[in-house]
């Protein structure tokens, strides 16, 4: 697969360090060169998005073009984060891909009820995961047209 450069910023909300590592690696292997911002829990995620506390500085918290959100988060539950994002007039335009291990119907339903844009089950096998990441980029980074605000293209 040829290199595809996509420059949207991705915010990854993930509490599991391993998963962070794996995701980073997957992105690398998938040759996705987007800038990746990582926050470790729901509170941080909201701080980042609202530019609060340690993320007051907009440089440290640019508007992401895609949010990859794990539902299982400590402190504030991932769904709650999703809800808040989608209720905020500015933030709701940002596509949120729920990435999580579960594919329980209830979870899927709830996520969509909170207006997530996509729901993906994280495959266990790494290679498969790489593939998934690639496809996410292909779609959300390239194919999908984002709303004008909050996307920085070069």
């Amino acid at each position: 697969m040829s290199e595809i450069r996509s420059m949207i910023k991705i915010l990854l909300v993930e509490d599991n360090l391993d998963d962070v590592e794996i995701t980073r690696r997957a992105l690398k292997d998938a040759k996705v060169l987007n800038k990746l911002w990582i926050v470790r829990d729901g509170e941080e995620a909201l701080d980042f998005l609202y530019r609060k506390n340690q993320y007051k500085d907009p440089d440290s918290s640019p508007r992401p073009g895609l949010i990859m959100l794990d539902i299982n988060l400590p402190k504030i539950n991932g769904l709650e984060v999703l809800k808040r994002i989608k209720q905020n007039s500015k933030l709701k335009r940002i596509p949120v891909v729920v990435l999580t291990v579960s594919k329980r119907d209830e979870d899927i339903i709830r996520a969509y009820d909170c207006n997530c844009n996509s729901f993906i089950q994280k495959p266990v096998e790494f290679e498969k995961f790489v593939d998934v990441i690639r496809q996410i980029e292909l779609y959300w980074g390239l194919l999908n047209l984002n709303s004008p605000n909050g996307v920085e293209r070069k």
Binding site: D18, I22, V101, V124, E125, F126
Partner: protein, 946 residues
Amino acid sequence: MKEKIGILIIGAGKSGSELISLFSGIDTVDVAGVADIDQDAPGIKLAKELNIPTTSDYRNFINAKGLSLIFNATGDDKVREDAAKIKAPGVELINSYSAKLIWMVAEERMREAAQKARAIFDQTFQFIGLMTPDGKVVEANRAALEFAGIEESAVLGKPFWETPWWTHSPDMQERLRQAVKRVAGGEFIRFEATHIAKDGGLHYVDFSLKPIKDTSGKVVFMVPEGRDITEKRRAEDALKTEQRKFSDAINALSDSFFVLDLNGKFLMWNKALEEITQHTKEEVAVMDVAEFFEKSEKEKVFKAIAAAIEKGHASLEANVITKSNKLIPHSIMGKILKDAAGNVIGVAGIGRDMSERKRAEEGIRKINRMQASLLDVGSLDEKLKKITDGVVDIFNADFARIWLIDRGDRCDSGCPHAGITEGPHVCRSRDKCLHLVASSGRYTHIDGGHTRVPFGCYKIGGIASGKYPSFLTNDVANDPHVHKHDWAKELGLVSFAGFQLHPPHGEAIGVLALFSKHTISDDEFMLLENISTMAARVIQTGIAEELLRQSKENLVRITNAVPGAVYEFKMTPEGKMEFTFLSRGIKELLGVSSDDILKDFSMAWSHVLPEDVGHLRESILVSAKTQALWQHEFRVRASDDSIKTILGSSAPTRVDSAGNSFWNGTLLDIEDRKKSEDEIREINKELDDFTYIVSHDLKEPLRSIDAFSKFIETDYKDRMDAEGVKYLERIRANCQMMQKLIENLLEISRMERTRNLSEDVNVEEIVDEVKFRLEYITKEKNAEIFIKDKLPRIFCDRVRLTEAFANLILNAIKFNDKKKPIVEIGCDIENNFYKFYVKDNGPGIDKKYFNIIFQIFQRLGRREDSEGTGAGLAIVKKIIRMHKGDIWVESEKKKGSVFYFTIPRDKETVMGRRRIGEILIDKNLVSAEDLKKALDEQVKGGGSDE
């Protein structure tokens, strides 16, 4: 007295004779004499007969004294001249010619008169005749002659008593002769005579004989007269007979008969009146009606008589006093008598001795009272004692007893009859024995010598066996059937009556018997027979009631042991509802007794929670309308305010002729079940969460292991030898395995808890979808999947069934060793379910593995040979079971395999709603065949009572 006209007749020839006859019959004429030369002339004879002086020379009489007329009948002029000369100056002389003239005129007159007389004479239907004083018949009228059928010539001149009218009876002749004599003497005689008519018949004649006298009083003629009074006599005889009959009749009456005049005196009465009042005929004749009653009742009597006169009839109940001052109660009825003109002439009536009837009435009243008291609640023995008491009282018996026929119960414990082996009274049937159950009167004990009597033996046993069906003797001392004559004599017992007690068309169930010191009349015997019929009925009812009571007890015991409440429910065609039976269990359910609800159905409704009432009512009405099995859950508030969930279910049993439908059912408290259900739901939820959490927490590390071992592999490949790489791969392979396992576990455990809505699904579409999903591997393996015939539309969980087919078809391809795997899918439609199959031409499965392949995680091949986790078939089995179907395999090594699974056709079954029937079968209370039979019968419309 007038002076008679004297006449002298000269010439006694024909003319002269005529003159003589003529004048001798005339009262006012005295024929002084008759003269004729010829003393043999007819007139001379006649004159002599008539005592008229005669002479041969008329000159002798011509100057006789008193002479007024001289008739010259000679026709001789000489005589005329002579007579004229010598006669006295005042005397007339009538000559022949004149005499003839006079005579002709007179004759004519006479003839006229005679004709008239004759006419009357002959016209009358009465018998009339004329006789001489010495009894000779001169005349007889036509009626008399025709009566006897005789000619005038036969009787004229004959003595009357010698005529055919009288010759039939010497008595009558004599009587007549006597009568004639007396009438000749001037008497008038009348008597009843009998005569023989010309037809031979005897006639009664009112006979009279009247004398005809001349001026001197001498009887010159006699007139016999007769009136045929035969008819009258016959009528009189008939009347007499009637009167006698009447008299006999009224005298035959045992009741008193009387006719009173308006003054209260007796005009007529019968023997009975005399006998009852003990008065003689003579006494009654002069008695007044009031004398027959007590002073205190006289008023009543007069009122009754007055009423009779006024209304035409009346009745009275009063005591009659006899001569000996005994009072006899009487019922008297009277009617007025009127004469032809309509005037009341008296009162006729009948009086009846009521004492016997009063006694009988009292007896019947007592029997009725006894019968009424037998309807009261009481044991059989108590009732039978009432009967024997009644018999003693009503019939004044000395003692009365009732035996019942039952099994012999004392044969081995000292019954005296058991030991007798010889003689006429050997106890032959141990299962039929007479038990003494009631005794009243002189003997009231029931455990004495007669407590048991062998069937067929002795008097009592003989009555029971039918040797003597009902038995009466009024001479106990001498009757051969009675045994202890001395005892009977000593006690003064005179009569015995025994009756076999039996139901209308059945065998004997007992005996009623009594002894009495007085004779038993036929009437009393009949009453006793009625009483024994009553007793038989009481016994029958008693036995039936006992059986009923026992079966009721059993029913109550059984239904009370059953959990919940058992009931029979009735709904009228108008929709009125009630319980006809409700077991005690309802008390536990609602805290209300079954009696209260049986009395008042609305009480049951009042316990149902208001929000559930509507649905409950509706479900009942729907079931009632369609006569379908009814099942419904609803909540109730018990008396202690606790809320319970009740499951009611019932089945229709019958519809009676009035259109009422009946249902048998149960009410079960499923609160616990509901609680359990809730608990289960909670547990499931917890389990779900647990599973989720566990699997999630298991999966994450797996991902990490996989990923990092990959990283090692990738990044450090050049620093590792082949072995190391292999190890890493093994690590990764295991991770993947674990992940699949976790997925399958999740899948299986979730399937139980989450149900998709079942829907109408076209199975062909499912198979198409699966084919699409498996396209890759199908191509890879060069497999062919095809559908044999058509696949039906079924009611199922689409997603899950798709899953099932996917697993089966995938297995069929995956484990296939052939160059061209062929998978055939088909469906057979059986009675109650669809039988799907997935057939392959793979390696087949050994029989011993048929069961275990469906167990989770069991695999047949080596782990590395197959990709499966071994959970596939377990999942399929779970899916099929969830549809209430079954799955199995038929296979032979090297001959491929066929996996069969069934899906019920019935929606309800698929959805898992269970009916009472299934619950019953599940609990082994009923076999499926029996249930099916019962349900089929229900459907047929016969509807058994079971």
